[in-house]
């Protein structure tokens, strides 16, 4: 292992600086009640530009892991670095802001502000940018921001719903608005918790294709969970499986077999 590192270091010294992992978790533990460990010693390294699919049965801790990555949940043990900064309860507001500004997060539940227009909800994605008091509503936002938001909506095929109230949309449409909200800020890291779960097959495929295309053109790093094994295997470089709070396997998507999946979801 050690010589391997030195080997590649001399090899790439003149081409690129050594890659700092975008996310680095060491022995990450998380418990909500100090008794049951939901995450129990997770080691995970994610480098820039990777696309990672996270799989696991219901309650295996996928959402918990994703939320911990950007400090939405405080971790109970181990260490975690995101964009090179440590993530912990002690992180400063500036560190947290730096991390969150570069991250787009699509939640498993839609999490839109219900009484606001779809466009306002997408513009909310620009909170944290300079001048973000204007992100409260589409009527305050600058022309540039509104155009960016419309582009993001067009990317998820919802441009015609821009002025509808968010809670008047169907579940799948709301999910797509949430995706647009995460994309409007042009994140470097996109975390999506079951982005395609409530979408019809075609929209689900479109969203996954959109992600893949964004990752290729803008070098976005993508981490997503999915219960659709086709999505998990076809759109990721790496598949990480969680089981009983531990990583069951972490391997290239092309080398995930039926037996691996069987193992993940068995008992």
């Amino acid at each position: 292992m050690l010589d391997l590192v030195t080997d590649t270091a001399t090899d790439t010294a003149h081409t690129a600086p050594p890659q700092v992992p975008l996310i680095e978790a060491r022995g990450l533990c998380k418990s909500y009640d100090r008794r049951k460990m939901i995450l129990d010693g997770i080691d995970l390294e994610i480098t820039k530009g990777e696309r990672i699919a996270l799989i696991g049965s219901n309650g295996s801790g996928k959402s918990t892991l994703l939320k911990s990555l950007i400090g939405l949940h405080s971790i109970s043990g181990g260490s975690l670095r995101c964009f090179g900064d440590p993530v912990s309860a002690q992180s400063s507001r500036a560190q947290r802001l730096n991390m969150r500004r570069q991250t787009g997060f699509v939640f498993q539940k839609h999490c839109l502000v219900r009484r606001r227009s779809v466009l306002s909800n997408v513009i909310h994605g620009l909170f944290g940018e300079p001048g973000s008091w204007r992100a409260f509503s589409h009527s305050l936002a600058s022309r540039d921001w509104r155009e960016r938001a419309m582009q993001a909506l067009a990317d998820v095929d919802l441009a015609d719903k821009a002025m509808d109230r968010a809670d008047m949309l169907s579940g799948g449409q709301q999910q797509r608005v949430a995706i647009a909200r995460a994309l409007v800020r042009r994140p470097r890291l996109l975390i999506a918790d079951e982005p395609a779960a409530s979408l019809d097959p075609v929209s689900g495929q479109n969203v996954m294709n959109l992600f893949t295309q964004l990752c290729q053109t803008h070098a976005i790093t993508l981490i997503y969970t999915s219960h659709d094994m086709a999505h998990a295997v076809d759109h990721a470089d790496r598949v990480v499986a969680l089981k009983h709070g531990k990583i069951l396997f972490d391997r290239p998507a092309s080398r995930v077999t039926r037996a691996h999946l069987q193992d993940t979801f068995d008992g």
């Binding site: 507001r93 839609h110 502000v113 009484r115 909200r181």
Partner: protein
Amino acid sequence: MVDPRQTAPGRFTGFSPINFVLLVALGAMILASMGQVSPTPQQLVDGVPGMVNLVGRMLPPNTEPAFLARIGVRILETFQIALVGAAIGILLSLPIAWCAARKVSPLGRGHVVVKAFVSFLRTVPDLVWALLFVASIGLGAVAGTMTIMVDTVGFCGRFFAEAMEDAEKEPQEALSAIGAGKGSILVGAILPDIMPSLINSSLFALEKAVRSSVVLGLVGAGGIGQELKVAFDLFQYQNASMIILAIFLIVMVMEVMTDKLRAYIQ
């Protein structure tokens, strides 16, 4: 995790012997107090001629134009006290409620202090506030406005804070993941979510303000109540009956108006 041997809870779990004793004690206290403060039948019978006499002297209500004009000015003043006091109170309540709301407050744990302060404002009765302000600011409408303001903050501060605590959590978490601060979360996610409840509480506060501004004059804090006190003090019962009618009108108009507004907003 559920223990299969767990038995269903009994039907009267909440009713312990202690509760029974407390209930009997409460009943005994009510009966004993009745002997001391409630009117005896004899007193009621004796009071009837007095009441009839009073009502007789109140009729007909005074309808002299000069008097009506004076009342009209006082009614206007009452409305002004209620409107200005409630408006300022509602505006002040928003930041105060924000500081008092659990989990939402920018003060963190300090929210308890603000909450206690709001409770204090609410538990002191409005007439006592009026006495305090009359003593410190002096007689007149300004003392009344201050009273209504404090009263409104006590009322709205609590209900706004509760609404903020009950606001949907997921959108707040989403905005926080985006990097929004506490203030942005308040304006971006919480306020839009609780707007109907805010408006409803504010309308109630306005109704309450009109009702209390009517009596504030009894202790010299301006408004129509002042005329009522003068009328009773000088035994001008026909004036008093006119004023009571006017008060009835004010409160009714106010309630009809807020009901209409509420229906319009729903």
